[in-house]
């Protein structure tokens, strides 16, 4: 059975695209047929993060408007056979994506793929609403920071009212992916804790991705952290989150504070 998942946040720059690419690659590595879809018309970046920016010939809007077939626009990942990308259009205006076009393309994607991951644009405008419209499930990406948490709360409200599922009176399955988490700063009370964010947003936790150098390196080279993961904490956290997404029960590992010489010597203050 095919599942359409929207990766959304309201606020920009919290890690939607990175998370879409990393989770998509992780799911595909497990043998599932996955398509990651960029909904950010005019500001596409999923192609770049996936390392496929030079292979985009046709895009989402070409398919939605009937100028190209879906099979022509899908870009198969060179590293993982079962991973595909549908790029957003870079040049056309944002209104080029119509509700009918999106509905038809999502319908076609459902026939081919086990998972369709929709990378939402930031904001709460048309593009973001179209990205969530057909979703069966939502991943709300948030940073432990006040503006991100507030915007996530707003997005949760929209997921519960503006999606097809909500309009049919069904429950939208929503999960929190907390990114850029710094355990040391959280332990010292400088940063909202995981429990703080969970209590405020009251949706279940999909995973906690620690702030990590791996992420920038991954986007620099165009390879999601979950591909050939080198054992870094962020890559592992995404791999585990993907397993949870796939239905496995994997306890959420809370990222550990890095042990410096000083903390080794004097121990860690109790959280």
């Amino acid at each position: 059975m095919s599942k359409v998942i929207v990766v959304t946040s309201g606020k920009g720059g919290v890690g939607k695209t990175t998370s879409t690419a990393s989770l998509g690659a992780a799911l595909a590595q497990g043998g599932r047929r996955v398509c990651v879809v960029d909904f950010d018309v005019g500001l596409r970046n999923l192609d770049l993060v996936m390392g496929a920016e030079r292979r985009v010939v046709f895009d989402f809007i070409n398919v939605a408007q009937g100028d190209a077939k879906l099979s022509q626009a899908l870009i198969r990942d060179k590293r993982i056979d079962t991973l595909h990308l549908l790029a957003a259009s870079q040049t056309r205006d944002k209104d080029a994506l119509t509700a009918e076009g999106v509905e038809r393309v999502i319908g076609e994607l459902r026939e081919t793929f086990d998972y369709v991951l929709c990378d939402s644009p930031a904001g709460i405008e048309r593009g973001a609403l179209l990205a969530m419209r057909h979703a069966d499930q939502a991943i709300v990406v948030a940073n432990p920071e006040v503006s991100s948490v507030r915007d996530s709360d707003r997005i949760i409200g929209l997921l519960d009212s503006k999606t097809l599922r909500a309009e049919r009176g069904e429950q939208m399955d929503k999960h929190l992916l907390l990114t850029r988490f710094d355990p040391a700063r959280s332990n010292s009370g400088e940063m909202l804790s995981i429990d703080d964010v969970l209590e405020i947003l009251s949706i279940p936790l999909l995973g906690v991705i620690p702030e990590s150098r791996e992420i920038l390196r991954a986007s620099n080279i165009g390879a999601p952290v979950t591909i050939n993961a080198t054992g870094g904490q962020a890559g592992l956290a995404y791999l585990e989150a993907a397993r949870r997404l796939g239905g496995e029960t994997v306890p959420v590992a809370i990222p550990d504070e890095k042990k410096t010489f000083f903390t080794r010597l004097f121990g860690r203050r109790a959280a």
């Binding site: 006040v146 010292s188 203050r269």
Partner: protein, 92 residues
């Protein structure tokens, strides 16, 4: 930090948490789905506003929701010259 942590004030996270909780409690009501209590509040306030000019600062609206019963409490000061005979009225 471990040695001198006790000298330092606890961080800013508790402040962030409290600010968010208060803000979101308001925003969820203002932006969320309009339930009966919200509709009643808006219509009652609109009705009051049609008859008198009231000072928003002197208006108090309390809404409480639970599974079995919800309450709406509107307290509005009506100046004497606007309504002869009474000095204060409240609608509940």
């Amino acid at each position: 930090m471990n040695l001198f942590g006790f000298l330092k004030q606890r961080g800013s996270a508790p402040v962030a948490r409290e600010r968010l909780q208060i803000l979101l409690a308001h925003e969820r009501v203002a932006l969320g789905p309009r339930d009966l209590v919200t509709i009643l509040r808006d219509e009652l306030l609109a009705t009051i506003a049609r008859h008198i000019e009231f000072d928003p600062e002197k208006l108090s609206v309390k809404m409480e929701r639970s599974d079995s019963v919800s309450t709406l409490e509107i307290d509005v000061e009506i100046p004497c010259d606007k309504f002869v005979g009474r000095t204060q009225a409240s609608a509940a």
